[in-house]
Each structure stands twice: as C-alpha cells, then as structure tokens.
C-alpha cells in the first residue's frame, strides 16, 4: 500500500540527488507539477530518463537538476527545438549534460525489460546506423536459431519513476486511460514510484475488466495533484494547452527569459 502524501513531502521522501529518475507520459499525462516540485527542491546530478524529453525536461535541465540524459527524441513536438537542452549540450549551461542516446524502440523495449525483471532487452533494430558507434550500451547478439543479428540494450531500472494518472482509489490502486505510453512499464521497472493523480476516489470503477491499472503494491507514494499534467493534458479532465507549447519556444530561447519565467512560475509557487 502506497503512502498518500502531499507532493512536496513525496518528492522529499522519494527523490535524492544523484538518482536516476524517469518522468514519463507520452504527450499525455506528463507530470509537470511533480517536475516543478523537483526543481523547487533543487535536486542535482539527476540522470533523467525519458523517451521524449520535451518541455518538462527542458525546464529541469535549464534549472540545473540534471547531469545526464537518457532519451530518444528531444524536441518541442510540432514546434521545434528544446533551447535549454541544446544550450546544455552545445554550451554546457547551466552545467554540462552527458547524453545516452537511443531510438524509441530501444527505450520502449528497455522499459518493458525493466518491468519484466530482465537484465536487457532484445529487438530488431539499430542496423546500419550511427548510434551504436557512440553509445556502448547498444550491442548486438545472434538469434541462436536463425543467426539473425538482434540489437540489445540494458533494461531501464530507474531509482524512481514519476507519472501522472487520472485516479487513485483509497487503497492506492491507480487507473490510467487514453494514451498510456510507457508509464506502467516505468513504474514497474523502477525501485520507487511516485504517482500524482487528478483525484482520489472511493472506487476506480474501471470501464473495462482490462483497463490499465497499477495495483497499490507497485506504488511507493501517491500525491493528489489536480491539473498536475498541465500544460499537457489528462484524458477525461482537461485538454492540452497547445499555445503554451508554441509560446515556450520564445520563453526558452534565451537564458534570461527562461530564468525569469522559472522564477515567476515555478520557484515563486508552492504546491499544495
């Protein structure tokens, strides 16, 4: 059974400097409010894992939380570059950022392998391309039956997974619905997990017997956080604030405007 905690206490309890942390959510259900709390608590030297480091990691990287990024696509979807990510990689601001770079297929399989208790993931991939030359965590094995060359990457086993979900019940079971991404895998792969939720309800009342549910004993802490995915969205609750994603391009383009925005919108605010 997870602990029900206010978000600041949950971040305080679960996330330590130097941890490997995966905040997941594939466009949908991105745990922005949790990320802001991590920024406010000034966590440092995190290894951040995420398939699509978009605005949420641009903010954390620009705020100086991360020393390494494990990822497969870093951009502002449909808008352009992540300027804070680029500034860290190209100019080392506010600190250098090491990259461990994969493809989406590798990342998705690595989470799935972590959830499965496997040491590594095998898939068809990475043939004839450059990433294996720059990432020693990409290797190849032969199928013992056909001889086919298969790619292999280590399983993701983050210290902490952080996700946002629609609902938790009083017993601590969590329901996800819509675009579910790799969040279930991230939680099952991690040593500890923090789930922020739109609401805590008496019963999940899942729509289907096969609804996507994380049972209570797979979760370390639950923090209520209505709107916790904004400016991302929560299926059934609120829509994506597309204009914020477009505006982020200008806000994040230079260090001063970024810093000002973060001071006003993150550091000056307290989470309930």
């Amino acid at each position: 059974m997870p602990s029900f905690l206010p978000l600041p206490a949950a971040v305080e309890a679960l996330i330590r400097d130097g941890d490997t942390v995966a905040l997941e959510g594939f466009t949908h259900l991105i745990p922005f409010t949790a990320a802001h709390e991590i920024i406010r608590q000034r966590r440092r030297n995190l290894t951040l894992v995420r398939m699509t480091p978009d605005l949420v990691y641009d903010q954390m990287i620009g705020a100086g939380c991360a020393s390494k990024l494990v990822f497969s696509w870093g951009g502002n979807p449909g808008v352009g570059s992540l300027h804070r990510l680029r500034d860290a990689v190209e100019n080392g601001w506010p600190n250098p950022l090491a990259l461990e770079e994969h493809s989406h297929a590798a990342m998705a399989n690595a989470y799935s392998a972590g959830a499965s208790g496997m040491p590594c993931a095998f898939f068809r991939g990475y043939l004839g391309v450059g990433l294996p030359d720059v990432n020693p965590n990409i290797r190849f094995v032969s199928c013992p039956f056909t001889g086919e060359t298969l790619a292999c990457v280590p399983a993701h086993r983050p210290d902490v997974a952080v996700i946002h979900a629609q609902k938790a019940d009083q017993a601590g079971n969590v329901l996800l619905e819509g675009i579910v991404g790799v969040q279930k895998e991230a939680v099952l792969a991690a040593r500890r997990s923090l789930v922020t939720v739109e609401e805590i309800v008496d019963s999940l009342n899942p729509a289907s017997p096969n609804s996507v549910i994380l049972p209570s004993w797979t979760i370390t802490a639950i923090a209520p956080s209505p709107g916790g995915a904004r400016p991302s969205y929560a299926h059934g609750y609120y829509s994506r604030d597309n204009s914020f994603y477009v505006n982020w391009d200008a806000i994040s383009r230079d260090r001063a405007s970024f810093t000002e925005w973060m001071n006003e919108n993150v550091h000056a605010r307290r989470t309930a």
Binding site: F71, G74, G78, S81, R86, E101, G128, V129, V182, N242
Partner: protein, 259 residues
C-alpha cells in the same frame, strides 16, 4: 487555383498512398499528407501514430503525436512498448513517413546532430522512432523541403538507414523491407534508381525547373528520362487540405509550424 509549394508537396505525398495502406505517421508534413489522402482518395487508409493510436481518424491535425484527438478518434490505443513490438516491428505497417535535417542521395537520414557528435554545432532532436520505422515498414516515403543544406553529399550523422552510405549496405544487411521508395519535396518527386538506389528526379512540380532542383541539391542530381511533370493540385485536394489546416489552426489557436 493558386497553391503554395508546401501544398504541392503535401498533395504529391498524399497521392502516393493507396486505400489499402497502413501508415506509420509522424508529425507535421506526414500527418497532413496522410490525413489528406484519407479525406480524399483513400478513405480506408489506416493511420497509426507511435503514441499508440491505431486506425485513428482525426478531424484536425495533431500538434504532437500524442494529442487527445488521436486517441478519441482511434479504433483502439495501445501502450508504446506494444506499438513498437506488435505493430511496427511486427511488420504490420506498409508505409512509414520520415523526414530529417539531412538526406543523402541514397535516402539515409540525419536527425541527430550538425557537426561532430561529441561537440555538435547544432543538437537536433534525435532518432525518435525513425531508426526502426526505416527497417520495419514495407516502404519508406521521405518528405522534406528542397534545400542544399538538407539534400547533402554526406550526412553529419547516420540516424536512419535508407539504402546505405553507398546504396548497397541495406541489401547487404539482409533486410526484407524495401526502404525509401519515394522522396517528395517542394520542388520535385524523386525515386531510387532500381539498380544503384540513388534518388533520381522522376517528376518536377509544375513551374519548377531542373536548374532550381540542381541549385537546391548538394549532390549531382540525376533526372530520369522521360521526366514527368507532377499533376496540378485539384480543387478537391486543395480545398480538403485547406479545410483541414483551417480546422487545425482554429483548434490549436495557431497553425502547426510544419504544415
């Protein structure tokens, strides 16, 4: 009707899709082309987005591949690991659309860095789904704007395999999928030579000259003989695309950057 070079590019890409295709769709131009095809000549075209949405029928173009509209209008939505395992790697996609910052004459793509990998001049977004889309889909359509910095002699980084650095590596690896079979730009349509796999201009868009294409391609581009002229956009194509873009702009509060 007047039309823009971008509209011509999107329409030419849409025409290449058949009613029986199953498409793995990226954001921006591919999404516009695929949905235009679905709304015109290919109503049964199946669209799959890597966020997990299968057989989706968005009425506006998504700004990101995980927009709520994709899930709401999908037949079903699966997890991302399932998407990459059962659907993409499982060989259930006939056409994958790709783009990138750079393409070479053999359809190899770079979306990783400009400059050296360890000290990049420009850090690009990275591979995303492209690396395995390129090897798992039946064939690959590339859609990019024609520009000398985009159509390069040599990639700064090989993110995504086309036919390989000299056009033979893909075959040598034993891949069973066709790789890039089409490159649509705002100036022309290019197709790989059956033997050398080099992308060759097979059709110029109306009003475009060979010289324009040469000036915007860094390799010594070859023109097929006879060279075709791309059919003009029809009124239906243009109206459908513009309606789609107008609905999209209204829904997002601004036009998506890439359409």
């Amino acid at each position: 009707m007047n039309y823009s070079a971008n509209e011509m590019m999107t329409i030419a890409a849409a025409r290449a899709l058949s009613d029986r295709d199953v498409c793995f769709v990226g954001i921006g131009l591919p999404s516009a082309a695929c949905n235009l095809a679905r709304l015109t000549h290919a109503p049964n075209l199946v669209l799959i987005y890597e966020s997990g949405a299968i057989a989706t029928r968005p009425s506006v173009l998504p700004l990101s591949i995980g927009d709520g509209e994709l899930c709401r209008t999908a037949l079903t939505t699966v997890s991302v690991p399932e998407m990459f395992r059962y659907w993409l790697q499982g060989g259930r996609v006939t056409v994958g659309f790709l783009g990138g910052a750079q393409v070479d004459r053999f359809g190899n793509l770079n979306s990783t860095v400009i400059g050296e990998y360890s000290r990049p001049k420009v850090r690009l977004p990275g591979a995303g789904g492209a690396t395995e889309i390129a090897t798992s889909c039946g064939r690959i359509f590339i859609v990019m704007r024609h520009h000398p910095r985009a159509m390069v002699r040599k990639l700064d980084f090989l993110t995504t395999l086309g036919h390989g650095p000299t056009g033979v590596e893909r075959r040598q690896l034993g891949l069973q999928t066709a790789g890039p079979t089409l490159l649509v730009t705002d100036l022309a349509i290019l197709e790989p030579d059956p033997v050398t796999k080099e992308f060759t201009v097979t059709s110029l868009h109306p009003g475009v000259t060979r010289e324009q294409v040469r000036a915007n391609t860094s390799w010594d581009v070859i023109f097929a003989e006879p060279l075709q002229e791309t059919a003009l956009p029809t009124a239906l194509e243009l109206e459908t695309l513009r309606d789609l873009n107008a609905r999209t702009a209204e829904a997002h509060g601004a036009a998506p950057a890439l359409t």
